[in-house]
């Protein structure tokens, strides 16, 4: 695992020993670690540095883990969260999962399993990030289309033949073919099948 692709582990726990533990666990596997003793410290110190995962204790002194999760979601921070709970916090953990947490680890945990959970979260974040990147790319390409090209491409996706498109838009078939070729080029697709797939993905939105 090269340092370049290493995801970052953010750990928020008020217990010093636990923070030391996570520090060693992640660093010994080559992941950079940022530890925080409270939610407010995290809010103050966090910035997006690439793929990451937040290991969050549910029971924090100033702001509970769930509150921090809500806060981040409201701020538009998209980071996978792994909750660390103590026995008895199961309802809270369920609530956390429902509002989008990736997973939760129950104390006292097996350190290998805990690391695996965090690594899965890393992987998820990587996928999310690339999906978001593709999406951004597609949006940018769509923005390049002229209005006429857009009209033509919409009808191509609907499966209409050039001849029909020409009749509907009251232009010659040749013009339709020209717009279509230009549009395909701008969107970076080589076949109609690829075009339809790309556009469908867009309509479904981010997975």
């Amino acid at each position: 695992m090269s340092a370049a692709e290493a995801s970052i582990a953010y750990v928020v726990d008020d217990d010093e020993s636990i923070r030391t533990l996570w520090q060693w666990l992640m660093e010994s596997r080559g992941y950079p670690v940022r530890t925080f003793a409270s939610a407010s410290e995290f809010i103050a110190g966090y910035r997006d540095e690439g793929a990451a995962c937040l290991v969050l204790d549910l029971n924090l002194p100033d702001m509970s883990g769930l509150e921090l999760q809500r806060y981040l979601s409201a701020q538009g921070v998209e980071i996978p969260i792994v909750f660390v709970t103590a026995h008895g916090d199961v309802p809270a953990a369920v609530a956390a999962l429902k509002s989008g947490a990736v997973d939760f680890i129950e104390k006292p945990f097996n350190y290998r399993l805990a690391v695996q959970v965090v690594e899965r979260a890393f992987e998820l974040d990587r996928q999310n990030r690339s999906a978001r990147a593709r999406q951004t790319d597609l949006e940018a390409r769509l923005a390049l289309l002229t209005e006429r090209e857009r009209e033509v491409m919409d009808r191509v996706i609907e499966g209409k033949a050039n001849k029909i498109i020409a009749a509907e838009l009251d232009i010659s078939i040749k013009t339709v073919e020209a717009h279509r070729a230009k549009g395909m080029e701008k969107l970076g697709v080589s076949s109609v099948a690829e075009l339809v797939q790309t556009m469908l993905q867009r309509r479904k939105g981010f997975p």
């Binding site: 020993s17 636990i18 060693w24 409270s38 002194p61 006292p108 805990a114």
Partner: protein, 920 residues
């Protein structure tokens, strides 16, 4: 136009109309659609109070005394205000006991005494005679004056031959009508709905007639009130009349006594008792009558002074009796129709009074005077007659005729000597004698039969002597010297100045003496001798009427044997078979049985029921005699009645106790509910605590487990790393141990199971020892510790180990939150009144004010979260609990960055020896 035949014809037509109204009302009542079931009709029927005396006499009185006529109407108005208390009770008693008359009421109250009923009847009849004669006088003189039209003069004295005397014929005609109104049939409840309807109508007629004259005089002859009173004010004689309490308008004493007298009259005149109590259909009618009746009184009095002044101004010299002004004023103005209307109005007032009064009196004479005597006469074998209704009706009819004839006799004997009002007041004074026995009877259980009899007789005797005899004397029936010099020349016994009491008018004088005699005898004799069994139970039934439920109240006092057929036969004999059958069916239906098929038990309840039914027809005293004739009653002794009453009051007491118990139960339930809520809350707290503890335990456990596993899985780790991890494991293990110990400690403290070893403690010594024990800690963190301990501190009482624990906790906290090397911790002891105070001050990071209480909560820590791993979050909580156990308190003063000072107090031993004698 105002010839004799016309007047007579009009009068008969009017009486015929009254009869038609009565007949219609009776028919409606039989059909179950009563026309008199209205508070307005009830109030109008009460206005039977306003008789010819009011109609003619008020003006006559006003022409002499001015406003002096008013007390007679102020009294009833005042009394109405008290009716809610007095009359409602009388009504309830009368309905429950099926009272048929005033005499029946009093007789019933004092042990269903036939003697008492008879006395009351005799007093009532004799007392009312002047009043009836007044009505006869009014009708006959108004007739005589009217038919002399257009001449205006007083009629000549009555013809020596009664056959030529108008008054005699008036009496006879009225007797006939009264018989027709009141004794056509026998009603078990003595209701005369037709009569009441006719009376209500008459009340309207007399009011209208009087208002018509009033309006005519004030606005027709004169120019309104202003003009009339203006002219009167010019004449000194008339002006004086408008001032109450002075001179002609009567003294204060007169006003007071006349007011009291009329207050009693409105209750105890037999006719008032008849219309207000016996004829009352619904207790609720009282509510409206309480303001409607005074309104009527006001209306009929508005024009009294104007007519009187008008008469004096216009006819002052014509030699006319002022009593006739109401009639003679329209005549003088040649208003024939108005004069005729006035005559009819006066006729209304007089006939209304006579009809109701004689019906009431005849009921009393029959039920309370004759029947009890006749039924006791074994010779007559009345008990064996199958139907006595005819006999009862016959007696009543005879009584009506007799009473009117007696009234006429009085009129012949004494009527001419007095003005109308004076005659009426004599009657008022007579019925006022009933007041002590009546009012005492419903509010005072102590009043006895003997007391009532003595009071009535004494009062009546004084009345006879001071009012009736003088009236006869003035008419020449007794020697005049009787009045002037006293009987046999004994000055002290002069009837108008008894025992030398002079300076009062005749009525005031008579009232004063008769009331003293009456009340004195009633109360004195009642207190002197204990009441009998029967009196005891009746007193209880009457006075506690609002506490008894229904008619069954009287049944609990009856013990004996009877048979149903006998009781039925008895009932049928006096009320008729149909009525008896109806009554028995009602009785059976109320118990879910069929009459006559089902076998009814001839128990106390049935006997009592039959007795009350009979009482409706015969009066209580007679009914009792009759029931006793068929039901073999065991005689209850006073003791037994007392016991029954006691049992009844025990029931009341039980029911009070039950209520009390039920209230206690409710309270207990509420307490249980509260306790349950507290338990639920405690349970929740316990769950929270367990969850908190488990959470707190899992954190060190996580570190211990993970680092041991790491050490185990990674033998290649370098020595420094290994040692670092091992230190963490050891530290977390220590923390875990501490946590478990403190949790157990806290749980013991909270459940009250902690062991306390109490001794006297020298805090100075304790502080020095503790500093020595924790010196290692201070050296490690390089924090300075100083102590400030004064000499000669008093001892405190407490558990040495526990208090040491508190100070160690505070010192280690102080060290923990102090910066190494720069940290300064000071422990100081000082004395406060009754307490010894310990302060532990540091110069560490401090605590924000909002956390000052939080730090004492379980598992809560404030300040730097970096230090959390070193504490359990229980130390301060436990410390505070320990201090509070010894009666002290613990708090913190601090601000962020300025260090913290934890302080606690402990009570001094001298003050706490007693409180601590028994350690918890």
């Amino acid at each position: 136009m105002l010839h004799g035949p016309v007047v007579i014809l009009t009068s008969f037509a009017y009486l015929g109309l009254l009869f038609a109204i009565a007949y219609y009302a009776d028919k409606r009542a039989d059909a179950g659609r009563s026309v008199i079931a209205s508070p307005y009709v009830y109030s109008l029927s009460l206005a039977v109070y306003a008789t010819a005396w009011t109609f003619y006499g008020s003006v006559g009185r006003a022409a002499i005394d001015g406003v002096g006529f008013l007390p007679i109407y102020i009294g009833p108005t005042l009394m109405m205000a008290l009716w809610w208390i007095v009359m409602r009770k009388i009504l309830r008693i009368s309905k429950q006991n099926r009272i048929t008359s005033l005499a029946d009421f009093i007789a019933s109250r004092y042990g269903k005494s036939a003697l008492l009923g008879g006395i009351v009847t005799v007093i009532a009849v004799i007392g009312i005679l002047p009043y009836i004669s007044l009505q006869l006088k009014a009708i006959s003189s108004s007739y005589s004056i009217l038919v002399q039209y257009p001449e205006l003069r007083m009629p000549e004295a009555g013809s020596p031959f009664i056959w030529h005397d108008t008054a005699f014929w008036v009496a006879m005609i009225l007797a006939m009508f009264t018989i027709a109104f009141g004794t056509r049939h026998l009603d078990a409840a003595e209701h005369h709905q037709g009569m009441v309807a006719a009376i209500a109508f008459e009340s309207l007629v007399k009011l209208l007639a009087f208002l018509a004259v009033g309006v005519f005089v004030t606005f027709g002859i004169f120019d309104g009130f202003g003009d009339l009173f203006g002219r009167a004010a010019v004449e000194p004689r008339l002006a004086a009349m408008m001032t109450p309490f002075e001179g002609v308008a009567g003294s204060y004493a007169t006003w007071v006594w006349l007011t009291v007298l009329s207050m009693l009259a409105i209750m105890f005149l037999p006719r008032q008792f008849q219309v207000s109590v016996i004829e009352n259909l619904d207790e609720k009618h009282l509510n409206k009558a309480i303001w409607l009746f005074p309104l009527y009184m006001l209306a009929i009095n508005v024009f009294v002074l104007p007519i009187a002044f008008g008469g004096l101004l216009r006819l002052g010299d014509a030699g006319l009796d002022a009593d006739t002004f109401v009639l003679t004023l329209p005549m003088a103005e040649k208003q024939e129709l108005l004069a005729l209307l006035v005559f009819i109005g006066g006729l209304s007032a007089a006939t209304g009074m006579v009809i109701v009064e004689t019906i009431a009196l005849s009921t009393m004479v029959c039920n309370d005077l004759l029947m009890p005597v006749l039924l006791r006469m074994k010779r007559l074998r009345l008990n064996e007659r199958p139907d006595l209704t005819g006999l009862v009706l016959g007696i009543r009819r005879g009584a009506i005729v007799a009473i009117l004839l007696l009234g006429y006799t009085y009129f012949r004997a004494a009527g001419e000597a007095y003005a109308l009002v004076s005659i009426g007041l004599i009657s008022f004074a007579a019925v006022a004698q009933f007041a002590p026995a009546m009012l005492g009877g419903i509010f005072w259980k102590g009043g006895t039969r003997r007391g009532a009899i003595c009071g009535l007789l004494a009062g009546f005797a004084v009345w006879l002597y001071t009012l009736l005899l003088p009236a006869l004397a003035r008419s020449g029936w007794l020697p005049a010297g009787f009045l002037e010099e006293g009987p046999l020349g004994i000055e002290l016994l002069k009837p108008l100045q008894l025992f030398g009491l002079a300076g009062l008018d005749q009525i005031t004088h008579a009232m004063l003496w008769s009331m003293i005699a009456n009340i004195g005898a009633y109360v004195g004799v009642s207190l002197a001798a204990a009441p009998g069994a029967e009196e005891h139970r009746q007193a209880s039934l009457f006075v506690d009427v609002f506490r008894n439920t229904g008619e069954a109240g009287g049944a609990r006092f009856w013990r004996g044997t009877a048979s149903v057929p006998e009781l039925f036969t008895l009932l049928a004999r006096f009320t008729g078979v149909a009525n008896a059958d109806e009554a028995m069916r009602a009785y059976a239906a109320a118990r879910g049985a069929d009459w006559p098929s089902a076998a009814l038990a001839a128990d106390a309840e049935l006997v009592h029921y039959v007795e009350t039914q009979l009482a409706g027809a015969l009066g209580a005293a007679s009914a009792r005699v009759m029931v006793a004739s068929v039901a073999k009653e065991e005689v209850l002794t006073v003791e037994e009645v007392r016991r029954i009453l006691d049992e009844a009051s025990e029931v009341v007491v039980y029911s009070h106790r039950l209520e009390q118990k039920s209230r206690e139960l409710e309270a207990a339930t509420a307490e249980l509910r509260a306790a349950n809520a507290r338990l639920t809350e405690l349970d929740r707290l316990k769950d929270d605590f367990v969850s908190m503890v488990s959470h707190e335990l899992r954190t060190p456990l996580t570190s211990i487990r993970a680092f041991s596993e790491i050490l185990h899985d990674h033998p290649q780790l370098d020595a420094a790393q290994r040692s670092r991890f091992l230190v963490i494991i050891i530290k977390e293990t220590e923390r875990l141990t501490r946590l478990i110990n403190q949790t157990l400690d806290l749980s013991r403290l909270e459940s009250g199971q902690a062991q306390w070893r109490i001794s006297l403690i020298d805090m100075r010594q304790l502080v020095e020892d503790t500093i020595a024990a924790t010196s290692q800690l201070f050296r490690e963190r390089e924090v300075q510790i100083t102590s400030r301990v004064p000499e000669n501190l008093p001892l405190v009482r407490g558990d040495l180990d526990r208090i040491t624990q508190v100070i160690v906790n505070l010192l280690s906290n102080a060290v923990k939150f102090s910066e190494p090397r720069r940290g300064r911790v000071e422990i100081a002891l000082s004395q406060e009144p009754g307490f010894l105070r310990v302060d532990v001050r540091d110069n560490g990071i401090g605590i924000a004010p909002e956390h000052h209480e939080v730090v004492f909560e379980k598992f809560r820590q404030a300040g730097n979260p970096l230090t959390k791993a070193q504490g359990t979050g229980l130390g301060l909580h436990i410390s505070r609990r320990i201090v509070e156990h010894f009666g002290g308190r613990m708090w913190v003063a601090s601000a962020p960055g300025e260090g913290a000072c934890f302080s606690f107090t402990l009570p001094l031993a001298a003050d706490t020896i007693d409180a601590m004698a028994e350690p918890a």
